[in-house]
Point group: D2
Chain length 376, copies 4
Amino acid sequence: MAQTRIRLGMVGGGNDAFIGGVHRIAARIDDHYELVAGALSSTPEKSRASGEALGLPRIYDDFKQMAIREARLKNGIEAVAIVTPNHVHYQAAREFLKRGIHVICDKPLTSTLADAKKLVKAAEASDALFVLTHNYTGYPMVRQAREMVAAGEIGKVRVVQVEYPQDWLTVAQDIKQAEWRTDPARSGAGGSTGDIGTHAYNLACFITGLTATELAADLQAFVSGRELDDNAHVMLRFDGGARGMLWSSQVAPGNENALRIRVYGEKGGLEWAQEDPNYLWHTPFGEPKRLITRGGAGAGAAAARVSRIPPGHPEGYLEGFANIYTEAAHAIHAHRKGDPIPPEVVFPTVQDGLKGVEFVDACVRSSARNAAWVKL
Amino acid sequence: MAQTRIRLGMVGGGNDAFIGGVHRIAARIDDHYELVAGALSSTPEKSRASGEALGLPRIYDDFKQMAIREARLKNGIEAVAIVTPNHVHYQAAREFLKRGIHVICDKPLTSTLADAKKLVKAAEASDALFVLTHNYTGYPMVRQAREMVAAGEIGKVRVVQVEYPQDWLTVAQDIKQAEWRTDPARSGAGGSTGDIGTHAYNLACFITGLTATELAADLQAFVSGRELDDNAHVMLRFDGGARGMLWSSQVAPGNENALRIRVYGEKGGLEWAQEDPNYLWHTPFGEPKRLITRGGAGAGAAAARVSRIPPGHPEGYLEGFANIYTEAAHAIHAHRKGDPIPPEVVFPTVQDGLKGVEFVDACVRSSARNAAWVKL
Amino acid sequence: MAQTRIRLGMVGGGNDAFIGGVHRIAARIDDHYELVAGALSSTPEKSRASGEALGLPRIYDDFKQMAIREARLKNGIEAVAIVTPNHVHYQAAREFLKRGIHVICDKPLTSTLADAKKLVKAAEASDALFVLTHNYTGYPMVRQAREMVAAGEIGKVRVVQVEYPQDWLTVAQDIKQAEWRTDPARSGAGGSTGDIGTHAYNLACFITGLTATELAADLQAFVSGRELDDNAHVMLRFDGGARGMLWSSQVAPGNENALRIRVYGEKGGLEWAQEDPNYLWHTPFGEPKRLITRGGAGAGAAAARVSRIPPGHPEGYLEGFANIYTEAAHAIHAHRKGDPIPPEVVFPTVQDGLKGVEFVDACVRSSARNAAWVKL
Amino acid sequence: MAQTRIRLGMVGGGNDAFIGGVHRIAARIDDHYELVAGALSSTPEKSRASGEALGLPRIYDDFKQMAIREARLKNGIEAVAIVTPNHVHYQAAREFLKRGIHVICDKPLTSTLADAKKLVKAAEASDALFVLTHNYTGYPMVRQAREMVAAGEIGKVRVVQVEYPQDWLTVAQDIKQAEWRTDPARSGAGGSTGDIGTHAYNLACFITGLTATELAADLQAFVSGRELDDNAHVMLRFDGGARGMLWSSQVAPGNENALRIRVYGEKGGLEWAQEDPNYLWHTPFGEPKRLITRGGAGAGAAAARVSRIPPGHPEGYLEGFANIYTEAAHAIHAHRKGDPIPPEVVFPTVQDGLKGVEFVDACVRSSARNAAWVKL
């Protein structure tokens, strides 16, 4: 922490945007960043008002202007957080990547598969780092689960059940959060699949270490007039023979952000739920179910690395999100010195982002073909 | 209860059979039956030994002998419980039905679709009643859920998530319970689909009142050498546009009998889990989630009809099972008097049984065609 | 079971009494008893009407008449269930005990300490057995907890937290169940302490094997005009140095029958809750918490003896109650043969009943002295 | 937030101190503070090393030096966080209070009642603010509960059950965290009562708005050689007639930080548990139990004020702690302008701290007199 804090800029995240505030808190929690510049909205006026409210030293009209000028400054930003609606991700990220500024980008990676592929190329062509905030991978007990699967504690994985139900779009909404998420032009082809299904899909791959090879998806838009799916039923096949089910829904009353995963292998099972994130259930086959708590007995090094406080004092969503920022900081600090990223530092990459967009694309194509299997 | 108890016989259910003992307790709980005859095993010796252990007045070598002789007795059995492995159900039931003896039969209805269709005909041709022990429909809070859906409390149903995971077949087992359940000749074409998937499917239809129109199923036998599915992923479509997912598994460590259903409609959601059966979660959209308890505030007449004791004193599996027997008793008492079955008396019928066998058949056919949609 | 069923009579338990029906079901579940006689109410007319509704062969005007006549019959009752309000227990039990008829008596033992002591003498003077239905000791996972404590799995016990909150008397009630339970003449000196506190106290002693030596109690009657306590806060001291807290309440909204116990020793902790009775939580100090399920991995012989069905299929209150009846049956069968009661057969005795009445008496005396410590 | 950040110093909280890190994160989360000075340890060397590791601009040898010099600086600290062991609180706080520097102090207020009373005088004599970090009062659902009680939603309070069990001192520990907490010279006269019992006591008073008038306490030190209580059973009486039980323990295996409160009134009940802090259970008497979630339906303005993110994304311990810092910031901002503290701004005060120390003192006195009632 005595290292100089990383100078951070932000694109998007103006006054009334939920996710921008989350990124700013996440960047602050472990004190690795200093937010010094922003192009916080799609209009210069709003950007300026939002930046002033935050007391930002440097406020820009748009992201391109910010990228150009910051790149020229002696102490310009070293990293930028991109927290706009999905369709802006690619264009914004490109401007910073090509100037060597690290990008921390919200998910899904882009609104179209074409953009996602171009963004992969842009990231690969750049010396800068690209970090995707699939924030649920930052939860300590998700790390714990991943470590246990990798260590063979549940044996070869057979079955993956993952779901992310919400209820906020049960009826038509005209709030801002709902507006762009149900608009194909800004969100991309996926509704629930893009907004939350990608999280579930990423989590399944992150914990199991498996790659999905094909899927069959039955998408629905239950609310009249809605253009994008608000419920998705997906069957998955993974390399090595594991099978999975994925359910994402925005029309399931009684669910807030009920992301939940269950993984079953030849020797045991694991269960984790985002709404109670400090707990991981582990059943070695033939033994009683065990409750592993963050920081408690049975929790290993991977979870401890990303924990701050003792067990029984819950860490939540913001701490998990902060873990992604802190992993990014570790990587940026290594980059500063020209060192490789330490192997224990783990964060979602542009490739993970591409996989997420491919997942949405495959869901939409499968569903259009009556839920036929399509390759991933 | 002052009515004469119903004279009951039993086919199958010898010494070491789990489900026979369950049926006997279920028949006793509300004191509507008197078990007076049995053909309890596939061999005369075992049948006799088991019958003597139970103190049965009349013990037979086989079910046919029992059917013939009991039908001739002045006070012969009025009803028979059939609790054999699946492949015997049809032949046994036929013998009793054609002699006017009511049949209470374990599920699934039969091991083959052909047998199921013949059994439907036999039941329709008989004056006797046919009751299928899809016992989970006997739980008070399942009745409560069904009553609430029917009353429109969650609005038009959109999404049904139902699952029945177990873990006892995670590794190969050579115990008797496992043996016939993994043998196609005795179980039928379905493994987990037949043994527990039919329960899940029946429960979904029972609570929602919907009819499934087609399904796509991806079945697996994960344990080497196993001939029948031990894990099934199924997507469902219902009349009226609702969509569903069904998961049955016998290889999910940490799950004992984790039957669970969630139903989401335009106005609210319901959740119920068999392992905590005295609770029903209800979320009216936009209001806090509510916990309705058996006998507690918010529980209605349908649940009260099948409850015995106050809330907070849990009723379990045997009581739920007993409710099917008691519903059957109500129907038999009406039949004695020549009355119609009262409308509040609800039990699974031979038609429900046929639907279960059709479900298994459809799963197997779909899976053989790479999870293509097949009609139900 | 092939043994002749035990001929059972019943005192109390007429038409609208909750607990009489419970006893009858409990007696039926494992088929050890045949109910053949009754004096079911305090008036001959009600007794007759109730007995006829149950189809009882022999109906009596009152318990004394029943005791005298049944004792003379060749095949008179061998055991009697006493399920009246508390103040009748002693007089009724005495009549049967002195005629060598086994008594299965509801709790608390009596309404006064004087009666309790007399009943102990009557039981000791009789060859007949006396079984008290502290039914919660019949739950398999309570047996499991007791076995684990006895085996030293949590080390020497230090702390016992036990509670039994309800909410049904939050406001004044004029239903029959409430009427006699709030009347000192029929219930005795304890309100919540007598009706449910005795259960909690008995459970704490049963599981830990400890004897309480003194207590300090602060009793309240929160509802205006109520004569007996509806809330009790009690501190306990046990032999060997363990300390405990006991809370009973009938005015705690949101609690149905929330009996719950936690026991902590030098090496581990145990937690059990009556409303989810198939689970026992066990934490060996320094290891993850474990969920032991009835019939599942980790459950031992003491629980298996009193289980009927596989894990994951919940057994409830009636099954636990039935276990007391079945233990009584084992004891009666041994008595028939002149054998000692097998050591694994466990049921609450008249001595346990005396301890319960002493507990109530001590609570009332302590509270009258501003919660001073009183010896037990 | 556009307001100038508050310049903050810290006393205590060097390298290996748990709670210092918590305070620093809490101060950062909402970006109201800038940590610019510190006397982080009891030795100058450690203080310097810790301060450098944190990159602090100004590092002092001890708190007195810091108070004197910062008070003279033009842009010296406006507030100081005191996070030392308990016995240092009074002396440190006094130095800052008398120089007009606001104090944010960890709990319990002091290690002795004499110190507590002197600190109250020092705070009253100062223009500076005094904030005590009874952090659990910062949880949104604790605010929600308090708001509901105040609004009469559960009626007049009758019963309060509060507990704070831990297990980390089940066996003797020689880690630093344990060392000073079990040393009377540094902790004060209370062991579990001081460290966690004060939290439970404060929470009970905070939510109910009641004042405790007397208590009876039975304290134990179960671990051989331990000088301070590691388990406390306390009965409470409140003004207005409510009764309570409080249990604190450090020897209850399976409990991490299981602070839990239940409040029952004439019209309903509330339940909250620190380990699942985003949920509040509310039962209006005679209606189903309701689950109110942070930010969800049924949550009111008091909770919303201190929430950052939508429901279903858990906020945890650090966010609750941050809420105390943010309330302090609101008060300090008002103080800057000479305005009164807005009525909706709520934080624990020096008076609350005094009550906590009085609670510990009363527990120790009561226990020494065999749990006699002592006035508060």
